[in-house]
Amino acid sequence: MAKQYDTVIGLEVHIELATKTKIFCGCSTEFGGAPNTHTCPVCTGMPGSLPVLNKQVVDYALAIGLATHCHITQVCKFDRKNYFYPDNPQNYQISQLYLPIARDGWVEIETGSGKKKVRIHEMHMEEDAGKLVHDEWDDTSLVDYNRSGVPLVEIVSEPDMRSAEEVIAYLEKLRHIVQYLGASDCKLQEGSMRADVNLSVREVGSDTFGTRTEMKNLNSFKAITHAIEGERKRQIELIEEGKKVVQETRRWDDNKESSHAMRSKEDAKDYRYFPEPDLVPIVIDDEWIARIKNQEPEFRTEKLERYKKEYDISQVDAEILTESKKMAELFEATAALCKKPKKAANWLMVETMRLLKDNAMEPQDLRFSPENLASLIDLADAKTINSSVAKEVFEQIFLHDVDPKAYVKDHGLMTVNDEDALRQTLTEVIAANPQAVADYRGGKEKALGALVGQTMKAMKGKANPGRVNELLREML
């Protein structure tokens, strides 16, 4: 029988913090500026420049450390990590090795096989590198330092994960925590959340770890899943062939769906860390920790449970509503205003999700106010507008946050409940569609639908479709 193998996975997750400015200078962290427009002597490593720490970075890092049940290092320091690369303007990265801000935490994940704790080894603050754009034609690369100095936290897990599913669950968990804290938007595609995968395999039952590799450049859950599967397979094959797994860094190629070793004799992995002399220690007192702890929001897990109890919402619906803090906040505020949580939930889960998808937006990009959604729900509930009009108005709310009352009034979208006007239109429609009338009378139920449609069209959608149906049957 073939040998059975376990996959042992640990993750190094980099998260870009949502500060307005870089970690050590007053340059904007705004995404997507023209090259080198968000730079200064500090973040381009000009001779003589010196770093000064952005306090918000420590606040965010502390919040994440506390939310992931870490011990906070109350006297923490920065260190220099030395390596040459053009995206690293000083050729050292200011990071933390000896006294990282947080250590020994955990998060709980849930997968098909149940709940499990993934331990966090440590979390530290550091600066991001610049961007390299490769020019294939003349064998050069272009360096843009706009991202250089953007604050990051790196969260290093213990090798506690055993499958891609667990890895994804862990990443989702971190994402939810960090997003709920407002510390980052955690967009994998845009690189504000990045994961390096440390993976080894061992025979089932073995209690020693195999040699691990580190996989970089994973930009989506799909890439992570494929990379884990591919690397597991590659390592097992090596072992079965009696070869050794080499401890190395490998780079995932999304197009080729495979990885290759990033080996170079010029890259001795010896970072010569030492305490950063240009920055002073950070002393985090109990008061500071308490202040951050007090600002802690209700996290997703608690919200989910509360929604089920308080609003009598299903697990699946509660999951959708709490997927992002923004959505959850919209839901709670709307429900409180219109006192109709189920309807509020419905609008958010169905129409909102559809429009998000159509507009290639994410929940955190939502801009409409709960007041306007609540008011729309009230209008529809009072039958002031019919459901198709409501959808049309909602689209305007979604896009432009319009006040539905004013919008309905300005565009004359109120449902017509005037019996006389309705009967008048129906008479006209019946007269104009003898074939359909004949069909209906001949037993074709479907023909009624066509007549209802004609009537709604004639009344510019403002009629109450239920009433139209009733009256039609009566008149025919």
Partner: protein
């Protein structure tokens, strides 16, 4: 009146009084530079045009009473490791031989605010690594007292320029003695302030935890005035210390009565030149005669300062100098194949031998497997050295010592044996390790006519005590008011 013989503060007074214009002083300095540079080579860059323009503007602002600093209109020179916007700043290295910073160092800015006329940038040991100013890519500076001798280093250009009257005062930087030792060799007053007193923003780093900018002047009064002008709490430098008092000129009083002065016996060993030892003891007697209580004591740990210093300074330097890679500024080798070859060729061609030596040593002591044995050991030794000073300052207000074991060596005699050169830093490096203020003041000459400097070391933030003692010595030995 010989305008060049005036001190900076004397000249400032005359400019303010309208007796001399900033322009006259600047032209006199430029003329002196033209006359002396072939002999001294104290400058890397002389900015004649810029200096004249500054003098003109500053003179107007003095007349409008906008500028009231005692240094307004006084010509100065800046060590070439401090950034000045748009002006060549080379660290006397090939790798920065074409570098024009886009901003100005905070200490220089402070001088500009005080109305200084900046004549140019002074020569130094490459990246401040050296004790003779012979490691400069642009060639050595000569000692104005005898051009066959070195001016000391690394702020040799700044000290020689003051001694040769090519400027009224200058700024230097001191990582292991780089202000005090050349000041001693050139017969001028030089001070390394307490770490954190003068902003390091814009000072191109050598050993970040040790570097400090300080004044190099003709006398103690000027030293106090320049320190007052450049010292500031700077939010751009995280290691900057907010001090209660930034007026150092109030310390200029002749009063050492009861001042407790300690002379470390362990500094007066075989290695100390006898003429230097004699001059220092004589200077100590002058202070005693004026009421100071002078005692000898055992400082301890003296011989460990240099190895600890070279580990820490080289380690920090190896990291600080990584940014010079031919990507963002400075020299890039003309021919290369690929990235790493470009890095290596650029750096190998761009740095001189002494800089490479220290980068290699620094990279080694930080490398995997050696960090604890070398780097951490040095940081622990540093803690012990600081504790030894703390203990000494329980008993003494000032520690009195030589600035260097000898007077200025002859040109070409030092570089062949680096370790021997390093050993000449024995009296200065521990002050940097402990972050203390230290001042060097001339106390005579040897029989060859080369100046001897006395070093006064104070506890943290006690610059005023040093200035008071130095001022008292200066007056007692005949410097006119």
């Amino acid at each position: 009146m010989d305008i060049l013989s005036l001190s900076a503060v004397e000249l400032g007074k005359k400019i303010k009084a309208g007796e001399i214009s900033a322009m006259e002083a600047t032209k006199a300095s430029l003329a002196q530079i033209a006359a002396e540079e072939p002999r001294i080579h104290g400058y890397v860059t002389v900015d004649e045009e810029g200096a004249l323009k500054q003098a003109e503007e500053i003179q107007k602002r003095i007349e409008n009473k906008e500028l009231t600093s005692p240094l307004a209109g006084v010509p100065t020179a800046i060590k070439d490791n401090m950034c000045i916007k748009g002006q060549l700043t080379t660290c006397s290295s090939k790798i920065l031989s074409n570098f024009k910073p886009t901003y100005t160092a905070e200490a220089v800015k402070n001088l500009q605010k005080a109305g200084a006329v900046i004549l140019g940038k002074t020569n130094m040991d490459e990246f401040a690594m050296g004790s003779t100013t012979e490691t400069s890519y642009f060639g050595p500076t000569m000692n104005p007292h005898d051009t066959n001798h070195v001016p000391g280093g690394s702020s040799g250009g700044s000290c020689a320029a003051v001694a040769a009257r090519e400027c009224y005062y200058s700024l230097g930087s001191d990582t292991g003695g780089s202000i005090r030792q050349p000041s001693s060799f050139c017969g001028v007053v030089g001070m390394k302030p307490t770490y954190g007193t003068v902003s390091r923003y814009g000072l191109i780093a050598y050993g970040s935890s040790l570097d400090q900018i300080g004044p190099i002047t003709k006398d103690v009064t000027d030293c106090a005035a320049v320190l007052t002008a450049i010292a500031s709490w700077d939010k751009k430098d995280s290691t900057s210390v907010k001090r209660a008092d930034y007026d150092f000129t109030s310390a200029l009083t002749e009063d050492v009565k009861g001042l407790r002065v300690g002379i470390p016996t362990d500094y007066f060993t075989d290695g100390l030149n006898l003429e230097v030892a004699g001059a220092i003891r004589a200077a100590a007697r002058v202070l005693a005669e004026n009421g100071a209580v002078v005692e000898e004591f055992d400082l301890s740990l003296v011989k460990y300062a240099i190895p600890a210093y070279y580990v820490i300074a080289s380690a920090e330097a190896s990291s600080n100098l990584e940014r010079f890679d031919g990507v963002k500024y400075g020299y890039r080798t003309p021919e290369y194949e690929g990235l790493h070859n470009m890095y290596k060729k650029t750096r190998s061609e761009g740095f001189g031998a002494e800089v490479k030596r220290r980068i290699m040593l620094g990279s080694f002591v930080l490398s995997s497997g050696y960090y604890d044995a070398y780097y951490l050991k040095a940081l622990r030794t540093k803690a012990l050295i600081k504790a030894a000073f703390d203990k000494a300052f329980e008993s003494y207000d000032v520690i009195l010592a030589p600035a260097a074991p000898t007077t200025a060596p002859e040109l070409g005699k030092s570089l062949s044996d680096p370790l021997k050169m390093y050993l000449s830093d024995i009296y200065t490096v521990s002050v940097n390790l402990a972050g203390l203020p230290g001042l060097s003041i001339p106390v005579g000459k040897d029989k060859k006519g080369l100046p001897i400097g006395m070093q006064l070391i104070g506890n943290h933030f006690q610059e005023k005590t040093l200035l008071r003692a130095a001022y008292t010595y200066e007056r007692a030995t005949g410097k006119e008011a």
